[in-house]
């Protein structure tokens, strides 16, 4: 072959290849296949839309979570180890209790972003669920109601933290102008009105009980919606939101007042109506106060054990009859481990049991005496709290026989023993259930050098008290280094007992103590093994007529609520809505001198911390960064 010919052949080939490549030019960059998932795909069929429904639920704040719920370690109900070297959970929220809230990056400030994201997803769901073809009308209505409920709850959570917040009724499009995205805060009354409106829209499309409990327990039902509405209206009627004159100067940039300074008693009327309605619906759905009555117990239990177990299980037994709403997005597991005590002395090296959650002495003192009245009012109760006492046979189901402990741990109401663990205190359960043989029951011994004494920097109660309420009685320690079986439960958000107390509170605020007020508080007291308010105060209080006045009864109801709902994340918000946080939070956090082995020295009060709480602390600060981005947001007062 001639060289030139060969060359021209190659040339032709090269040109051909180049042309082929060039001709496919436009297609070359067109690589996106159809059916790339977009938001539309979420609403083309029922099963995908159901995932979006779950997405709306996924923003539920994790109540009871030690690392994120401000109501657990951010208040004054519990103390913990400050900066443990190797923490099992993030102690960041504990700084709230230690008074270092700041506007740079507010503690628990992530709820602002998270909940608004949740609200956006709720709105997306509401905008699109109509498109799903294979959804029955009834199911569609129910899903819409669930999502409206969640949208209401997310707004409510924000209002509880921040006071007046921007209401997001509808989503703004992504490419909306910058001016439009800079929303302002809405007056707090408007916020509550919108939340109630959503709940009203939702409540009657919800089922009385879930259709399939094995798959759906935890989903929103009619009782839950009614109960939340009651809680929202009670909150709206409470002093923090009802004519709070301290907040009178909180105004938007355009001068619009965010708090009305006039007290409105009508708010209590609607709260009472909502509470009663909710109670009725809950009864209709089969909710009742929980009573411990194991069907197949091998042991014949004493009444005192049954009472304390009723109190413990009303909280820690999953889906018990009293729980109206439990948050299945927040399951108590780590919290139980951090609360539990190494009562089985064979396995004290178990690193899963941290015993770290420590109620201060003021919380131990909050519980009533065994006569059902505050220890400060009880005429019969031992006044000398500093003396030591040794438990006798009569007390051995509460305190280990022959064990010496502080006198304030004696002669207390069953809720004291059901809620708290303490040095010498009997801890029923954890594998030992025969209370006819009290010496076989576990107990706590937490002085220095004892099995539950604080030995390592990561473990042990800094006050000498422990939260028994969190720990399910059937959790068992095992022989393995890290064996600890936890009976998980979804965190209860509303219990029937609280609904009763809120109803009593609302009625009392309207017209003072009526028979109905006493009736509902006494239902709760009865389950707690206490006599009625009237009997208790008449016979044992040094202020026997307290329950007959509005203010006296208010005090009684408040304390009853704090005791009944102890450690459930209620106190944190209740003290705020009552505007009672300043006196309560300014009490010092005290514990026993846990570094001592001898009871004479152990039972000396030691101040762990002086908490501070000011007017500004009633509401969260809005993060500096959020205000920088949106200058229409006004900061809360004091921040």
């Amino acid at each position: 072959m001639q060289p030139i010919k060969k060359g021209s052949l190659i040339l032709k080939m090269v040109l051909l290849v180049s042309l082929t490549i060039a001709s496919s030019c436009k297609k070359y960059l067109d690589i996106i296949p159809d059916n790339i998932p977009t938001l539309d795909n979420a609403f083309t069929m029922r099963s995908e839309a159901e995932k979006y429904l779950y997405t709306c639920y996924s923003y539920m704040p994790k109540d009871g979570n030690l690392g994120s719920d401000p109501a657990i370690l951010g208040g004054d109900e519990m103390w913990a180890i400050y900066n443990p070297p190797r923490p099992e959970f993030n102690h960041y929220i504990f700084n709230l209790a230690r008074g270092t809230q700041a506007t740079i990056d507010p503690i628990a400030g992530y709820y602002w972003g998270d909940l608004y994201r949740g609200i956006r997803d709720c709105n997306i769901f509401l905008e699109n669920v109509g498109k799903v073809p294979d959804l029955t009308a009834q199911e569609r209505a129910q899903w819409i109601a669930e999502v409206k409920f969640l949208k209401a709850y997310y707004h409510f959570y924000l209002v509880r933290m921040y006071g007046p917040v921007p209401i997001i009724k509808e989503n703004l499009p992504i490419d909306v102008s910058i001016d439009k995205v800079k929303v302002s805060r809405d007056p707090v009354d408007d916020c509550f009105a919108y939340i109630v409106q959503l709940l009203n829209e939702a409540k009657d499309d919800l089922p009385l009980i879930v259709g399939d409990p094995t798959k759906m327990l935890g989903r929103i039902t009619k009782p839950i919606a009614y109960a939340l509405k009651a809680k929202v209206l009670v909150t709206a009627a409470s002093p923090l939101f009802n004519g709070n004159s301290d907040m009178g100067s909180l105004k938007n940039k355009d001068g619009k007042s965010l708090f009305s300074s006039a007290v409105s008693t009508v708010k209590w009327d609607s709260a009472a109506v909502a509470c009663k309605k909710a109670i009725d619906i809950c009864h209709q759905a089969g909710n009742k106060l929980y009573v411990f009555n194991p069907a197949v117990s091998p042991y014949k239990l004493t009444d005192s054990t049954k009472t304390t177990m009723s109190i413990r299980n009303a909280f820690a037994e999953k889906w018990n009859s009293e729980v109206i709403w439990a948050n299945s997005q927040s399951i108590s597991n780590l919290t139980q481990k951090v609360a539990a005590v190494n009562v089985d002395f064979r396995y004290i090296d178990n690193p899963r049991i941290m015993s770290e959650l420590a109620p201060p002495i003021k919380i131990a003192e909050m519980f009533y005496s065994d006569k059902g009245v505050p220890i400060t009012e009880d005429k019969t109760w031992n006044k000398d709290k500093l003396t030591l006492r040794t438990a006798t046979v009569a007390e051995q189901r509460y305190i280990r026989k022959d064990y010496t402990t502080s006198a304030i741990n004696f002669d207390r109401e069953p809720r004291f023993y059901a809620n708290l663990g303490f040095d010498g205190g009997v801890w029923y359960g954890q594998g030992s259930y025969d209370d006819t043989n009290p010496s076989s029951l576990y107990y706590v011994s937490s002085r220095k050098g004892q099995p539950d004494g604080k030995t390592q920097p990561d473990y042990g109660s800094p006050t000498g008290y422990f939260v028994k309420k969190y720990v399910h009685y059937q959790n068992v320690q095992g022989a393995g280094v890290s064996d600890y079986t936890v009976n998980e439960y979804p965190w209860p958000l509303i219990r029937l007992a609280q609904l009763y107390l809120m109803y009593a509170e609302s009625l009392n605020e309207i017209a003072g103590p009526t028979a109905e007020v006493h009736q509902y508080i006494n239902l709760v007291r009865e389950r707690a093994g206490l006599k009625s308010v009237q009997v208790s105060w008449d016979n044992y209080s040094n202020n026997p007529t307290k329950y007959s006045t509005l203010t006296g009864m208010r005090e009684i109801i408040h304390q009853e609520e704090l005791i009944e709902m102890a450690f459930e994340g209620s106190r944190f918000w209740d003290l705020r809505r009552w505007k009672e946080a300043i006196p309560q939070f300014r009490k010092p956090v005290q514990g026993w001198d846990i570094e001592q082995a001898n009871p004479d020295f152990y039972y000396r009060r030691k101040v762990l911390f002086d908490q501070s709480f000011g007017l500004k602390d009633y509401f969260w600060p809005i993060k500096d960064g959020d205000i920088l981005v949106n200058r229409n947001l006004v900061q809360n007062i004091g921040w």
């Binding site: 060289p3 030139i4 060969k6 060359g7 190659i10 040339l11 090269v14 040109l15 290849v17 180049s18 490549i21 070359y28 960059l29 067109d30 690589i31 996106i32 998932p37 977009t38 938001l39 795909n41 979420a42 995908e48 159901e50 995932k51 779950y54 997405t55 996924s58 900066n83 700084n95 270092t100 700041a102 506007t103 608004y116 949740g118 609200i119 997803d121 997001i168 703004l172 992504i174 490419d175 995205v181 800079k182 409990p213 094995t214 798959k215 759906m216 935890g218 989903r219 999953k318 299945s328 997005q329 399951i331 690193p351 390592q456 393995g480 280094v481 920088l628 981005v629 200058r631 947001l633």
Partner: protein, 1041 residues
């Protein structure tokens, strides 16, 4: 576009003047005599291929493979001109000589004096208008297996630094003319033989294989790369065979490496004492972590198993490691085909120790192999076929967590809690495993020794490239026209696995100080005595490149030179382990680009370039971008009026260019398709749980990206001004000044409040930045005589950037705005001093950090005077974190058979921060740095300017802020390289049948000068990582012809 360009080229041809004059007829005079001789290179080796011409005639000769030549001359006044690419031409009057041996010295300007590599081709050096720096491949030879380690200070216009010395993880960071974008991609485009490759591929390239190494900096030089060239281009070509006898070259090096510096820790006794102080000073009620008894007995050196005092670093790391490098290449060819074949083997070891109780190696051992074969075949007189095959292969073995992490773990390990391991005692005589020490209920403390020796990780990476290229001259159609096509296939694969056992931990159970008897007990029961296996990540990548080029190059008459180029290219790649649908779609680019140049009489030059590129990342309406650029140059020294000055100023030239270049790598890979929303329809974090047994869990939906059709390229507008000047033919200076404006930088919208509830940032091409700087390079060379010559070179790069447009919140304080600040500017608090006491802290503006603070903690300045210290008091502090100035200078001196060279490199205008969190002593068992032990605030010694504030057992939130307190100056000057060589005499070399033989010793990173002493300042904020290595090296270089 294509038509337009064709029109342009043809039009230029139309203007063309008449054909060049016919060659002068030969001087037919009687050839008087013959001169013979040999031409040598600077190291005494024979130089084949040197052109010898008699000045003023067309007569010439070429040296053969032994460097010998024969030429017939006319008379004694003839002047012989010896010239060779990359070397300085010599003119010698022949006189009466019959033999004439000549030594040619390399041209200091660059290896290729006459032509310079430009985008998609070469140009005559004197006609290049764009800003291109070429580096002599020899300058890249440092005793390291990582080519990128040699870049800092060698290249005018490149900002480079190295942060780690870990084999296989020690790639330097380098940026051409600094960083002018705050978008996703700041890296230059790396092209090796025209194919886009990664930094690691550049790192593995053998300097011996490199023919040219060029950096393209301005718009004219990079415009042809269109949407990919905005951050500059590094263009490397590998060697090709030269016709002639086979030339075999062999190089072997053996080196020892050792850290340039190590972070110093306080001794264990001081650690315990100050640990106690840290607890007591913060909370006097807290129990102290270490008893007096433990401190006293540790200090007394009592039983080290009971009173351990570990120097973890000594236990984990050796003093030095030995590394080897070998390179063998063969090249040659005949009239039809030429070849260049090379192979290289590098072995780099880490400095980690291995426990002899294990039978495996957990030290870093990186073996890398490179094979390369470039073959050029002349199919016809005008057709050339080039086949390039290359592969590089890494086999890595190293500790489970990597070398860097082992260094970091040492810092986080308590030195006194337990020994690394307990010896076998009577009670445990049947134990087969190492009894590692630990402490506490769950053995939760770091035992770095256990972490190091408990297993190893293996990784393997292979990359194969196969390219075929055809060049066809088309003089038959149009003189000066040629066409070229290339197809390249790249396959990259890697896999890794881990083998290791779970350690058993033991702790002290009892000790009798009277008898010195101790007992130990096992802590965990979940250890293993045998190895476990864990499969790592496997990656596969396939890339397909095509390039087609039409080239036109011709001189009309004597003075008008035109050239034109049209390129069409596509690139597509696919990843097998993409992980999600959008990432699994092919990555594609295509483009047409072109260049037209015109020069008149070697005085006036003009050039126009364009790139028209498309990327699959953008919506159809914005898929293609057009990037034009133009430049002019004036060679003043070629003007008639300049003649009188030429003796002093042998060359003077001015250049100016302006143009656009793009950057399509504007987002993360996971963020490729901005015009599509990205919805995760099965997201675990957005799921919910229900049901009686709490086991009904379904995933939810998460929007990861909101669609935005308008997102497009980032565009750079670049302007370059340059002056080239040569003095006395010896010193060459190139000074360039550039400005750059980056437009349409992709950034997250900052103006969207969280009440919008977006689950992903929205982004837009809103950012703007600008940059400016100076590149300066100087080289000089002088030969006193045949035996002594010296060359000196230096370069200097200054690159400064700033934000021009940046969407940010509406700050009340102007200093918080980024606009006007450098792109790598850090913000922080101004630390005034430490608080004198708690009283002082209470009386100062409230510092709003989560946590307590008091005396001895850092006092910050209330910049806006609002009585509190918070975000609003953060101001720009220090210099940028990427140096603005990089410079280097060095010399090479050759005397007879000896040669010596040294190179010094420096960096300045850079700040870094000591990681106060990672060095916070006692926090999570962190060790105590000696510098902190020596200088900290204590109640006895209230030094308010101590290095470390009041001790604390945990991280103190007040002190753990970016502030001026921990800011340091990263400026340094280092003796980067010294080399001393000896070339054996010809006589000796011929005995081993070789043509040249050189041995040398060299060292790198030998000395460091910096204000900062705690670690190597070049590592900046990464000081706790694997240190930069100092290397001592011996090598030999053997060539056979």
């Amino acid at each position: 576009m294509l038509i337009l360009f064709a029109f342009l080229v043809l039009g230029a041809a139309g203007y063309a003047a008449a054909e060049g004059k016919k060659m002068k007829s030969f001087n037919e005079k009687y050839q008087q005599r013959v001169v013979i001789g040999t031409v040598f290179d600077e190291s005494g080796g024979a130089l084949p291929g040197v052109t010898i011409k008699i000045q003023g005639t067309e007569r010439g000769a070429v040296t053969n493979s032994e460097g010998k030549y024969t030429i017939q001359i006319n008379n004694t006044s003839d002047v012989l001109v010896f010239s060779f690419i990359g070397y300085i031409s010599q003119k010698i009057v022949i006189g009466e000589k019959k033999t004439l041996d000549v030594k040619l010295l390399p041209d200091p300007k660059n290896a290729l004096d006459e032509v310079s590599v430009v985008a998609f081709g070469v140009q005559k050096k004197e006609s290049v208008i764009g800003s291109i720096t070429t580096v002599k491949p020899g300058d890249l030879k440092i005793p390291s297996s990582n080519l990128t380690a040699s870049l800092a200070g060698r290249v005018a216009g490149m900002i480079a630094y190295q942060r780690s010395g870990e084999p296989g993880r020690d790639n330097a960071d380098f940026f051409i003319r600094g960083i002018t974008t705050f978008g996703n991609n700041t890296r230059p485009l790396i092209l090796i033989d025209g194919i886009e490759l990664s930094t690691t591929d550049l790192a593995r390239l053998q300097p011996d294989d490199i023919a040219t190494f060029s950096i393209m900096k301005d718009a004219t030089a990079t415009a042809l790369y269109g949407a990919r060239g905005a951050n500059g281009v590094i263009l490397v070509t590998t060697k090709q065979g030269q016709a002639g006898k086979a030339k075999i070259s062999f190089r072997a090096e053996n080196s020892a490496s050792t850290p340039t510096s190590n972070v110093e820790f306080a001794d264990p006794v001081t650690y315990m004492k100050l640990s106690n102080e840290a607890v007591a000073t913060r909370d006097p009620l807290m129990p102290l972590p270490y008893s007096e008894e433990k401190i006293v007995n540790t200090a007394a050196g009592k039983n080290p198993l009971v009173y351990p005092a570990n120097d973890w670093r000594k236990m984990l790391f050796k003093d030095y490691a030995l590394n080897q490098r070998y390179n063998l290449s063969a090249s040659g060819g005949g009239t039809v085909a030429r070849y260049f074949v090379s192979g290289a083997f590098n072995k780099d070891n880490g400095i980690l120790k291995v426990d002899n109780k294990n039978n495996f190696n957990n030290n870093i051992d990186l073996k890398s192999y490179t094979l390369r074969s470039n073959v050029n075949i002349d199919l016809t007189k005008s057709t050339e076929l080039i086949v390039r095959l290359s592969g590089n292969f890494d086999d890595y073995n190293g500790p489970l967590e990597g070398g860097e992490e082992m260094y970091r773990r040492v810092v986080r390990s308590n030195p006194v809690l337990f020994p690394a391991y307990y010896p076998v005692d009577a009670q445990h005589q049947f134990v087969k495993h190492i009894m590692f020490g630990n402490y506490g209920k769950d053995a939760g403390y770091l035992n770095p020794y256990a972490d190091l020796v408990r297993g190893y990780k293996s990784e393997s990476r292979s990359q194969m490239l196969a390219a075929i290229e055809i060049k066809q001259g088309l003089d038959g159609i149009l003189k000066g026209l040629s066409i070229r096509s290339m197809i390249n296939l790249t396959r990259t694969s890697s896999f890794s696995y881990r083998r290791g056992y779970d350690p058993f931990y033991y702790q002290l159970a009892g000790y009798d100080s009277q008898t010195d008897q101790y007992q130990i007990s096992q802590i965990n029961d979940n250890g293993k005595e045998y190895l476990g296996f864990e499969q790592g990540q496997n990656n596969l990548m396939a890339t397909f490149d095509t390039q087609s080029m039409l080239n036109y190059n011709r001189t009309f008459g004597k003075k008008n030179a035109v050239s034109g180029l049209l390129v069409y290219l596509t690139r597509g790649s696919l990843s097998a382990n993409a992980g999600d649908l959008q990432k699994s779609l092919p990555f594609r680019n295509m483009g047409i680009s072109g260049r037209a140049t015109y020069s008149y009489d070697r005085k006036y030059f003009a050039e126009f370039n364009f790139g028209y590129n498309g990327s699959e990342r953008f919506a159809e309406a914005h898929r293609f971008g057009f990037f034009p650029s133009a430049g002019v140059a004036w060679s003043v020294s070629n003007e008639k009026f300049f003649e009188p000055l030429k003796k002093v100023v042998s060359n003077l030239r001015f250049r100016y260019t302006y143009g656009l270049v793009g950057n399509d790598q504007i987002g993360d890979v996971s963020d490729r398709f901005f015009y599509l929303s990205n919805v995760d329809m099965n997201n675990g974090t957005r799921g919910a749980r229900f049901g009686k047994e709490l086991n009904e869990y379904k995933n939810g939906v998460l929007i990861n990206r909101y669609a935005n059709e308008d997102i497009s390229w980032e565009v750079a507008k670049k302007q370059n001004m340059a002056m080239e000047i040569s003095l006395f033919g010896k010193a060459n200076i190139i000074a360039e000044y550039y400005t750059e404006k980056r437009d349409k930088i992709l950034m997250s919208r900052a103006a969207i409040p969280s009440t919008m509830g977006l689950s992903a940032d929205t982004k837009a091409n809103l950012g703007k930045a600008s940059g400016q700087g100076i590149d300066l390079s100087i080289d000089m060379q002088h030969a006193w005589n045949k035996d002594l010559w010296l060359s000196v070179r230096g370069n200097f790069t200054y690159a400064k950037s700033k934000y021009v447009a940046f969407e940010e919140p509406q700050y009340a304080e102007s200093y918080r705005s980024r606009i006007g600040q450098s792109i790598n500017q850090e913000y922080g608090y101004i630390a005034e001093r430490l608080f004198i006491d708690d009283q002082d802290a209470r009386n100062s503006p409230k510092q709003e950090f989560v946590g307590d603070y008091g005396g001895g903690d850092i006092k910050y300045l209330d910049v806006n005077g609002d009585g509190k210290i918070n975000e609003a008091d953060k101001v720009p502090i220090g210099n940028p974190t990427v140096p603005e100035v990089i410079y280097g200078f060095g010399f090479s001196l050759s005397y007879k058979r000896f040669d010596i060279s040294a190179f010094v490199q420096g960096s300045s205008n850079q700040s870094f921060w000591i990681d106060q969190g990672a060095t916070s002593p006692f926090n999570n068992q962190t060790q105590l740095l000696k510098a902190y032990a020596d200088s900290h605030w204590s109640e006895e010694n209230r030094n308010i300017y101590a290095i470390w504030p009041r001790l604390s057992p945990t991280l103190n939130a007040n002190n753990n802020n970016q502030s001026t307190w921990f800011m340091r100056d990263a400026s340094f000057l280092r003796l980067k390289q010294v080399e001393l060589g000896y070339t054996f005499s010809k006589r000796l070399v011929e005995r081993i049948k070789a043509s040249s033989f050189r041995v040398y010793v060299s060292g790198s990173n030998l000395l460091l000068f910096s204000k900062f002493k705690m670690w190597d300042a070049e590592m900046a904020g990464n000081g706790l990582g694997y240190p930069i290595q100092k290397v001592f090296n011996v090598g030999l270089n053997l060539t056979f012809n």
